[in-house]
Amino acid sequence: MNLRGLWTLTWVELKIFLREPLGALGTIVIPVLVFVLLGRGVGKRLDPSELATSGFLHVGLPVLASLLIAISSVLSLATIVSIYREGGILKRLRATPLRPTTILTAHVLVKLLLTATTLCVMVLAGKRYYPVGVHVPVFNFTLALIISTWSILSIGFLIASTVPTARFAQPVGAIILYPMVAVSGLFVPLESLPPAMRALGRITPLTYAVSLLGGIWKGDPWSAHWTDVAALVLTFVVCTAISAKVFRWE
């Protein structure tokens, strides 16, 4: 793979993204703010003994917050790619020595970097609202989130490849991704879902992301979640392969 220009392009795209009116605010500040406010509002009303047993606040909330960060990255990627296509920017970039994969990789890297940054800020801010003594494996969790985001980004690419215009990218993406969260087992365990929804949940990549993120947050070893990782990698491979076939540059 010829990656000439990858770092320059990634750096330029990162700067451009942060110049967007909602760039840094939307991806970093707002998720962290929501998380902190939620933690404050819910956390204060619970006494420490309740906290230990409250599965959702303990594991679910961080996982949900991380998932929302990932999904917002994916929607933003799908939108940017379709805007770039509509404006002829992709075509202009392709008429340079940049390889097509380099152009797309730069965008993925920007999104992963922002996801990881948001997460780190969130964990630091959240430490105040979580009981002392909870050892969150920040590094492993970040890695798990990057793997999950990478995988879901490939769904974003598939959306960007198929939507007719940029205006559709955001709503189509939201319609596909948010219901996935509902059947992912995050709010209601898969086992308690009706059979049809359970089956849907089993084939949804977000289910595996939730399982991976929740497990790593609780301190599970990676070996306990290899099926989750495998499912996410499979999603990435399949979506990327389809995108490569149907992707339009103009």
Binding site: R4, G88, I89
Partner: protein
Amino acid sequence: MLRHLVSTVKDAVESDAADMSTRPVIQVSGIRKTYSSTVAVDEVSFEVIDGEIFGLIGPNGAGKTTTMECIEGLRRPDHGTISVLGLDPFRQVYELQPRIGIQLQQAQLQKRIKVWEALSLWASLYGKKSEDGELLLKQLGLAEKRNTWFMDLSGGQKQRLFIALALINDPALVFLDELTTGLDPQSRRVIWDLVRGIRERGKTVFLTTHLMEEAERLCDRVAIMERGRIIDIDTPARLVTRHCPERTVIIGLDDPSAEETFRKVPQVEEVTRSDLGFTIRGRGEDLVSDLIRCISENRMRVTNFRTIIPNLEDVFLKVTGHSIRD
């Protein structure tokens, strides 16, 4: 035997020298490109010679951009062959790219990319130094816009930036697709001077335009394209001579008897009188000088002398049967 050998060598040297001045940098032969049921480019063949400004002219939808994008390696023709600087633009696109500069029709950059960032990105892609970009900015009059976002540039400034990006790798061949479309006449003139400047640097320019005035003022040779086909190729002047030999001369003269004198001038076909003088129609390059001679030999007191010479727009009307604006 020896003399024969010497003369062969001499011939070879001479033909080499001849090749140098008319060396084709683009050779297109028999290309065709269809989109589902529409034939965009239909059996097109032509050559572009080293160091010239070559224009592909025709109305919107004639197939100019498709032809250009096939040559740039961005599209693959259904059949036919293309050679650009000796390379196959589709198969050897990565070898070709460092040697050509491209400006695309209606292209955009990222809204919030700064002028200098775009140039420095492009410079790094072609392995050039950022200083090369700064120099181009100065030459194209964009130096004080270097920190401006792309979205805040005017149409003319955007086009100048695209020219800078097309020149950053010091290419031997530059493609300009509808470069001045949408620009006001003043910005257009600035761009024309820049394009002439590209030729002065010894580069070849291949451009498309639907503005006949642009083609006439800028191009060394033009190819007239319509409905996917090339109708004729030559210098603008020769195209006019070939397709529109008609000349009209308006002479201000208050002397009814001159009518008969004018009629005797060779190549004059029609003389009509009006209040202010005569309108004389004829054909051929010599008509104007013959009329001037006639006026001076007969010591006519002429108060006005105006020639109406056809231009590329008339040529287009003649060869296609309709105006380019239709």
